[in-house]
Each structure stands twice: as structure tokens, then as C-alpha cells.
Assembly symmetry: C2
Homo-oligomer: 244 residues x 2
């Protein structure tokens, strides 16, 4: 079994720091972060600070912190180039025998920038030196604030972005619980869609769950005119698929 009591030399850690509260990190994440040599904190070019870095501040001391600014434009080539530069830096530190942690909000394998780093670094260091440490995702934090089970028995859950509303509409017929990320400006059309399917009363929304700006909306109709930004999660309880 891998020793996670501290960060190991020449090891890369992809760490999810959870939704935003400092006590929602796992013990494993804290143990590695406290002892790691280098912390890479991604920050989008439109953000004034790295949310993930703010979350782990209580655990920082002598670690080298590298803020990595990545483009928000959805340009595959630009994105790959930006993460190749980050991979170069990480590999250089690893070759010096240092331990490196790349931190992200939520879980590192769910809509996270870790995927880009993995893509660029995968073949350049030994697989056994790459470790993913899971974090509580926004979906889980949202459901927790609502005390509402996501799945029981034979239920199916779909997690998807609001990007394509036709795909969201199709998903309503393919699962019992639908979790929608990246809502932003699509909110009014999304609510309209749920009304059309008689599901507006079966949906709740939490924005910035477990962060200072947290807001809980148990009734979507109270959301008129709200600007939610990127960190809102909607959970739609479409139905149940009980034991057969």
C-alpha cells in the first residue's frame, strides 16, 4: 500500500480540496499538502485569485506555491500549450527529487484542470509516481446542504453541464436524478425547460456550496433575475427506479 502519511520525493499528487470549506479536505489531502515541496494552484485568467489555494491556506508553511494562470477561452490548442508549460515546471521539480501537488476545487477527476496536466505529463514520469487524492465534489456538497439522497436502489444519476439544453432535455428521460453544472446564463432557459416537463418543483439549486457566498434555492421560481455565475449546481429529482 502507498504511504500517504506525507508527500514522497519525486511524486506528483493530484489533490481535490473539496467544495470550499477547509474542514472538507480529507486527512490524506492535508497530510500530503502539509509536507509537499511544491503546490501548483491553477487560476483562470478571469479570476482574481485561486479558490483552491484559498481553501488550503490553513495548511501552508514553507511549500513553494506556483500559481498557474490558464486561459478561459475554449481553445484546445491554447489550452494544451498552457498545460504543457505547467507540466514542464512540474517535471523539472520532480527530477530534482521534489514532491509536487496540483490542487483543484472539488474532485480532481470531475471537470477539473488535472485532466489537462495528466494529458501533458502522463508519459514523462513513472505511472507509480502519480497519485490522485479524491475530494468532495460540488455535487456531493450540494446534495448535503439539501439533505436529499442522490440515488437509492436502482436509480440512475446523470451529471452533465448545462451547455447543450437539448442534451439536458434528453437526459430527463434517461435517469432518475439529473445533476447540472456550469449553468450561468442558461438558467432562465433551464427553468423554462423544467416547467415544460413539470419538474420545476422537483429541482433545487445551491450556488457556492460550502463557500462564503453560499445560497440555497429550494424553489427555482425565486431565482428570477439572479446571476449565479459558474459555481451553481442544480439537482433535478426526475423520479425513482425502485427494486424490481
Amino acid at each position: 500500500m502507498t504511504d500517504y502519511s506525507k508527500a514522497l520525493p519525486e511524486s506528483l499528487y493530484l489533490i481535490g480540496v473539496g467544495p470550499g470549506a477547509a474542514d472538507l479536505l480529507t486527512l490524506r489531502a492535508v497530510n500530503v499538502l502539509r509536507s509537499v515541496d511544491v503546490i501548483i494552484a491553477p487560476r483562470s485568467s478571469t479570476a482574481s485569485e485561486s479558490l483552491a489555494l484559498n481553501v488550503v491556506r490553513p495548511y501552508l508553511a514553507a511549500q513553494e506555491v506556483v500559481e498557474h494562470i490558464y486561459p478561459m477561452e475554449r481553445d484546445a490548442e491554447q489550452t494544451a500549450l498552457c498545460w504543457k508549460q505547467m507540466a514542464d515546471l512540474a517535471v523539472a521539480r520532480l527530477l530534482q527529487g521534489k514532491s509536487v501537488a496540483h490542487i483543484t476545487i472539488g474532485d480532481p477527476l470531475i471537470y477539473s484542470t488535472c485532466a489537462y496536466l495528466l494529458e501533458q505529463i502522463g508519459d514523462r514520469i513513472a505511472a507509480e509516481n502519480i497519485h490522485t487524492i479524491s475530494g468532495i465534489s460540488a455535487m456531493q456538497a450540494t446534495a448535503a446542504r439539501l439533505n436529499a439522497p442522490l440515488l437509492m436502489q436502482n436509480d440512475r444519476l446523470m451529471l452533465m453541464p448545462a451547455e447543450n439544453l437539448a442534451a439536458v432535455e434528453a437526459a430527463l428521460g434517461a435517469c432518475e436524478t439529473l445533476v447540472i453544472y456550469k449553468i450561468g446564463a442558461r438558467l432562465p432557459k433551464l427553468i423554462e425547460l423544467l416547467h415544460r416537463h413539470g419538474l420545476a418543483q422537483s429541482a433545487q439549486l445551491v450556488s457556492h456550496a460550502e463557500q462564503e457566498k453560499e445560497r440555497i434555492f429550494l424553489d427555482l421560481d425565486t431565482l428570477t433575475g439572479e446571476r449565479l455565475g459558474y459555481m451553481a449546481v442544480m439537482i433535478v429529482h426526475v423520479g425513482r427506479r425502485e427494486w424490481t
Copy 2:
């Protein structure tokens, strides 16, 4: 904001203890568990011990521990009756001013017995005295052991049980990543189904992720004749749905 530094009187906590390793609890879960008066640990009638209880043993001292044995039969009436009895016990302790934690493996809102307790207790205590503390799910732990992103960009993820193979087949056309729980005896037919869709090489399986018995199968064809039981998770990478 709620104070999670310790368990509060008259409060019920639904706590996910993560996949099995003691360092995969969140700090919040540990803080509440260490200070809570009563811990309810569910155990199925076919299990010799409570897995969730084993995970939290390092954090136990003077707490009252109640093992709650529930039926594995898929009988809605029997299940409801069993959990009503558990709810009675929890409510009695809460009325004495005590704090109560119900622990489960993984996340308390993902295929967890917490849903049954919530159903039976929901109306009997004040909503503001019920707190869910998320845990790392088996899906996340499995993906972490594989260092494989679950979702990027516009991808959709479906999480479902293997119960109904026709539903699994339909899901292959409705998402980019399919996560399958509760595989057990359906494994050979599931592998056959993936071969038929040309997806057997795009799927991996981990059984008992982050537990002593953990086994990782990067190639499903090496699984012939394996008996996996209940705690196996398969991840099928059906495709990608990139930025548009």
C-alpha cells in the same frame, strides 16, 4: 454558518466515511465522530461486521456504538419497518439532548442506507438539526486508483447499478462516461455487452478500492472466472464530448 468543529446536542449527522481507508475521511467527519455521543453503524444481515464501523475505529473512545442490522432482502415493507425502529432509537437519544451520527461507507447520499433513515426520521426532528457530511464515494476512489479523469469539458457521466443490463446498454448511448455499481454475478454478461459495443478495452474495474482486499483490473479480459461480490466499480470511457 454551522459549527462543525464538534458534534452539537440534539443534532443528527449523516456521515460518509469514504471508501475504506481511515485517512479518506474529511476533517469534518472526524471532528464530529470524535465528539458525538452515539454512533449508529448499519450492517447488512449477511455481513459479519460493519465495514463503516471498522473504518472509524481509530476515532472511537467513549461514544455509544449501536450496530443496526438491516435486511438484505429487497422488500420495501420490511426495509421501512427496520429503519423505523432505528429512527425510534435515534429520536429517543436526540430527545435526551444527545448528538447522534449515522455512518455509512462512501457518501451518505449515494446508494446509502441514510436514505431510509432520512425517510423515517425526516418529520420527527427539526430540519436544521439534520446535517449531512459528505464522504468520498467508491466511484471517486476507483477513478483515483486509475488516475483517469471521469469528466472533462462537456462530457456527461452516468452512474447506475448493473441490475438491468438493457438499461446499461441504453446508457452507453447517452453518456461519455458510464460508472457501474453492484455488479456481482452480472459481470460475465456485462463484459459480453461491452465487447459487443467494442468498448471492452475502454473499461476498467476496481474491486474494494481503498480496502485491504483492493484489486485493480486494467483489462476486463483478465477477469474470467473472478467472483467480485458487491464492492466492485466499473468505469467505461464511452467517448468524449468536447467543447463546441
